[in-house]
């Protein structure tokens, strides 16, 4: 009979109960979102963002160095093939630096990678 009386009590004040229920649902939703948030973000952005600082440092520095190295290498090759030394090296070193900075910004998530957008 306890169930019956409680049911009756509930039916007498439906708006209150409904409000409490929706508030609880909202809180639950918030908590689920909070619990899900970091792991899901960790899944679709690059995963190293929330690991140790050393790993992050390695990642970012290698991105920058790679950009500069490729720029310098390409410039040097163009110089040799086209005989335009030192202009190829100068221009491509600058491009390489720009590419390296772009790499770092992408890796750090400051600039959104246009190719990884869903």
């Amino acid at each position: 009979m306890a169930d019956g009386t409680r049911d009756k009590g509930k039916r007498q004040e439906p708006p209150d109960d409904e409000a409490a229920l929706s508030a609880r649902l909202k809180r639950l939703g918030d908590r689920i979102a909070q619990a899900k948030g970091p792991s899901e973000r960790g899944n679709d952005s690059r995963p190293t963002t929330d690991t140790s600082g050393m790993a992050r440092g390695f990642r970012l520095s290698s991105e920058l160095v790679a950009g500069v190295l490729v720029g310098a290498g390409l410039g040097w090759l163009l110089d040799r093939w086209l005989g335009i030394s030192p202009w190829g090296l100068i221009v491509f070193l600058l491009f390489g630096f720009a590419a390296g900075v772009l790499n770092v910004m992408r890796a750090a998530g400051i600039v959104r990678d246009p190719t990884v957008n869903d």
Partner: protein, 250 residues
């Protein structure tokens, strides 16, 4: 015992295999550890798949865990279409992970601490992306280098930078794994040699040696994490690059 921290990376010829031109091709310790890794992975997966139980045992559970882990990684970064590259990514991940973990055992050789190995792996990924992208999308693939919504007057500049950024991928991809393994192993070795040096300096030395000993224990745990993390990072970057080949320029 060698106290030289670089000594552990030495390549030793075990026996000659072939002679191409003037170059001797020998079976090295590096190759031996690669073969060992492949044998371990194969044995692990075959043993895991042998029982095919509905309710998996320990070994089957572990094998399924690895499969699920890689599959989830691919699906979340490259979409379900990326699953056609599952064998490739799975091979890379398990190989690098096993090789890294073997390298943590004292007196073993760490294959991934040589840049030529990691570069070869990264270039395989690079050319897979390039060739599959061209095969799948034709010249449309190069739309990757021209992001949408860029004013025409700076487009040539952006295209140049994007191409360089694309070309720098295999380098950063390989250097990251190589540098992490190299630096970690050198650090371990240096601190471990401190223990030996301090320990040979009398009672106070032995007391002092407990400090680097504690550090080495901590570092070993950290290296275990790094070994796994770098294999994972290599795999997930492979997926991100493959995603470019599957859907270039949204």
């Amino acid at each position: 015992m060698a106290t030289d921290p670089i000594h552990q990376f030495q390549i030793v010829n075990l026996f000659p295999v072939a002679k191409v031109g003037g170059t001797d091709i020998a079976f090295t310790n590096s190759a031996a550890f690669m073969v060992a890794a492949v044998v371990i992975i194969t044995a692990f997966l075959l043993a895991g798949a042998a029982s095919r139980a509905m309710v998996p045992g320990r070994l089957q559970s572990a094998a399924e865990l690895v499969y699920e882990f890689v599959a989830t990684t691919i699906r979340s970064t490259a979409g379900s279409e990326g699953m056609r590259f599952f064998p490739f990514v799975f091979t890379l991940f398990t190989f690098i992970l096993t090789v890294n973990l073997i390298g943590l055992i004292p007196y073993t050789f760490t294959v991934t601490s040589h840049i030529i190995v990691t570069l070869a792996l990264a270039l395989t990924v690079f050319f897979t992306v390039l060739i599959y992208g061209l095969y799948r999308h034709g010249l449309h693939f190069f739309g990757l280098f021209a992001p949408k919504g860029i004013p025409v007057y700076i487009l040539p500049l952006i295209v140049c930078i994007e191409i360089l950024s694309f070309l720098s991928r295999p380098i950063s991809h390989s250097v990251r794994l190589f540098a992490n393994m190299l630096a970690g192993h050198i650090t371990l070795k240096v601190f471990a040699s401190f223990i030996a040096m301090l320990g040979s300096a009398g009672i106070i030395g032995v007391a002092g040696a407990t400090l680097p000993l504690a550090l080495v224990i901590g570092l070993t745990a950290l290296e275990l994490l790094v070994a796994f993390l770098q294999a994972y990072v290599f795999a997930i970057l492979t997926c991100i690059y493959l995603n470019d080949a599957i859907h270039p320029g949204h």
